[in-house]
Amino acid sequence: MPRGDQPIDHLLRRAGFGASAADVALYGGMSLSSAIGQLLDYQRQPDEVDSKIGQDAYVGVTTRGGMFSPNTNIEDARQRWLFRMVHSQRPLQEKMALFWHQHFATAYSKVAGGTNAIQATKMMALVPGQLPGPQGQLELFRSRALGKFRDLLIEVARDPAMLVWLDGRTNTRTRPQENFGREVMELFTFGIGNYTEQDVYAAARVFTGWNLRLVNPAGNAQDPTSYYEFVYNANQHETAAKTFTFPISASAGQTIPSRAAADGMQDGIDFLTALASHPETARRLARKLWNFFISEQESAPVAFVEGAAGVYLKNDTEIRPLVDYVLRSTWFLDSRSLYARYSWPVEFVARAVKETGWQGFSIDNARTPLANMGQTLFEPPDVNGWELGAGWISTGSMLSRMNFASTLAANQKFNLAREVPTALRTTPDRFVSAMLERFSPMAYADGARAALVGYVASGAAWTGSDAQVNTKAPSVARLILGSAEYQFV
């Protein structure tokens, strides 16, 4: 499979994190339809990526002060997630987890401030079974990545990190707390314009009593075996009926009926079910998936939005058929969709590593650069998530992208040089062509390509010696990775 504007390469940039040489070999033999099937039906692939951490053939991780502890140390949790982006055999699952992280944007720092670093990391990233307690929020996103949105929404409302992040755990009968009730309508479902202040008040009352409890066998919340779990606290639930300006159910109209406190958790289920099934939620998710998978540069056409929303509603809010619809739509492969999205910083990092190589490189090297590029995983700036698209690009963030590329290329310099065979070293032009084979930027205009060749030809006369290639290869890689053409997926 050649690099460039080919459909499968495009698919892997969008539905995955780009293609390593091994991915090129694997997917290159498939039809586009089978490749989409392979990505969508990821449960047929083993979920074993974490077991590769620490093995020589994979990108490294860096531990600080002892063991690698991704369930209790947030920096290690970040490394584990980046490792998965680079190496997972289920790239679409990781991609959707990232999509949901942006959609239900939750920041570790506030969760840690409300609990402690160990509990907050567990709430964000615990892999179930590795320590006592419920799965972390990221694992919720992974496990329900393509499931029913209604179920995901209900699980998010019960998610310990979310209950701290949007203060749900302090929402009580006598003093309802509006934070989650507002954002679940404004940001998580149908969006602004579909509700009133009175709906916000009512939504807050719906979730009274949805709370957390600390399970603390060791008597110490700092102990990794302690954990927070969801609890419905019936005596904090406000039992009166709640009336909205939009339908809750066919039978009850716009009102959630008064219920006994013991049954009051059903209020929230009814409310979230109504939101998940609302046609404006369907359209909003359709538009978000358009921007994520197809194009940021053109808004979703009505035909797409209505088609996608219809698939979502017909399938009882299930996301898998919706993503299937998106990836198999004619818009996905339209030439105007190619490179029509700015890469997020984590996408840039994962793709650069996959294409440049990683032998002897630790993914922890991306930690500070990612912060300077504007994206620290588990730390979105607010509940609205990151500012996407051109918002990623500023002078400072471009320098950070270029400088990460420099670190990576310098680290990989001998690998990069070694993989250019002698036959392709004969001229600067041929050398540039060979280097471009391993990367997937959008096609360079003549002037930009000439500048690359001009750089290779600069200095001492070109001989293609090992010494010369060792010098030029990393800088050419840096120039490609740092070029505007590489900042799009």
Binding site: R182, G391, A445, Y455
Partner: protein, 419 residues
């Protein structure tokens, strides 16, 4: 530099975008020609919706205490700043000792109850409205962006955003405002050194210089790269700034120190944007001595007071104005989490050598009677009295020296006389 702005791509489409280039080498000359003596404006955004009633405390209002049983600042602890025009006494949160000192020097103006009709209680819509200065529009160019457009400058460093994301207010048609949270990280690295690294950077410049307007997104990234290369040296000059004043080790302290450094080094920046977050205090606000809100007040006070003192030392106070805003105030009654939910009327402040200090606007009565005209939303929220755009108008007309009517798209000249 290319005259392309980021959000315009997404929200306004690419058709409206035009591109023009100036050679980066000339940029620093342009900046110097504009002169370090130019007036600066620093905009401080308190992100999350600042609880105005605990910043400027109506401590003589019994409803303040009855509606905030756990988070009211005790009357005996507020810092007196006098009375409003109706004779109602208010005081600063006890952590605002530095701001009180600036107030007493007559260099701090406090404008109570700022906002607009039908205030959005959404952070994002609210922030966008304060950015566009148009309650009917949440996208497109911001009010400071329109000011930058009026300057006709081709230097991206005419404005300096110290946060990572470009705020709506700074979105401009002609200037791609750089985001530089930390001048030390604003550097350029190569896998090689010496002449080889220079040749690589030259190639990067040539690669970035060649794009055409038929691919505007590519051109935008390229122009950003050129902007980075063209501003590296000037931004780098700020790193070595060593103020005599000690700034607090907070994000805000570091940002304001960087701003002061840029002013002292005369890099040519006219508009600085700084922000500090955490004001979405739905829980655990605390009151006077402890709790989340006291910490927020300490962060603001210590950062701003260090900045003020530094500028005074450097003789830059007379050329500097700082204005502070937040997207909304908060509900009057505390919630069950010892916090407050999203509300309406907000407090703005302005300080600087030319600011006419004092208390502007009237203090609300917090009586929850739905007929109380100083409140709205059935007595739940403070109703605005001063249109926030009238404060912007004052800054534009009397400080930046441009016609506010053209920048704001309307006449808002009736604002408080803070300059």
């Amino acid at each position: 530099m290319a005259s392309i702005t980021r959000r315009r791509f997404i929200r306004d489409g690419v058709a409206a975008v035009t591109i023009s280039y100036a050679a980066p080498a000339f940029l620093s000359d342009i900046a110097r020609a504009q002169g370090a003596s130019s007036r600066n404006l620093v905009v401080l955004y308190l992100s999350g919706g600042n609880d105005a009633l605990n910043t400027v405390v109506p401590y003589t209002d019994p409803f303040y205490y009855s509606r905030r049983p756990n988070i009211a600042v005790p009357a005996g602890q507020v810092l007196q700043i006098g009375t409003d025009s109706a004779g109602k006494a208010v005081g600063f949160h006890p952590r605002l000792t530095g701001l009180r000192d600036i107030f007493n020097e007559g260099r701090l103006a406090v404008v109570q109850r700022t906002g607009y009709e039908n205030s959005s209680r959404s952070h994002f819509q609210g922030t966008d409205i304060w950015g566009t200065a148009d309650p009917g529009t949440t996208s497109g160019v911001g009010w400071l962006g329109r000011y930058l457009d009026s300057l006709g400058s081709t230097d991206p460093l005419v404005a300096w955003n110290t946060t990572r994301e470009t705020p709506r207010a700074l979105v401009s048609r002609t200037v791609g405002v750089p985001a530089i949270p930390d001048a030390r990280a604003y550097s350029f690295a190569s896998p090689n050194t010496g002449a080889e690294a220079v040749a690589e950077r030259d190639a990067a410049t040539r690669m970035a210089a060649g794009s055409d307007s038929s691919r505007p997104h590519l051109a935008f990234v390229n122009s950003t790269t050129l902007g980075a290369f063209g501003t590296l040296d000037r931004v780098g000059s700020v790193v070595s700034y060593q103020p005599a004043t000690t700034y607090p080790n907070t994000g805000l302290g570091l940002a304001l120190k960087t701003v002061a450094g840029a002013m002292v080094r005369g890099v040519g920046t006219r508009i600085f944007w700084v922000s500090t977050g955490g004001f979405d205090t739905h829980s655990n606000e605390g009151n006077a001595g402890a709790g989340g809100y006291a910490n927020l007040m300490t962060t603001v006070n210590d950062g701003v007071f260090a900045f003020y003192s530094d500028l005074k030392n450097q003789g830059l106070l007379s050329s500097t104005m700082l204005i502070q805003f937040s997207e909304f105030g908060r509900r009057i009654s505390e919630n069950g989490s010892q916090g407050t939910d999203h509300g309406a009327g907000a407090v703005m402040m302005a300080l600087g050598g030319s600011v006419r200090g004092g208390l502007y606007g009237t203090t609300p009565s917090l009586d929850p009677d739905p007929a109380n005209p100083t409140l709205e939303n059935s007595g739940a929220d403070v109703r605005y009295e001063t249109d926030f755009r009238s404060v912007y108008a004052k800054v534009l007309d009397s400080w930046l020296g441009v016609n506010s009517v053209s920048v704001l798209g309307g006449n808002f000249k009736s604002g408080p006389n803070i300059l």
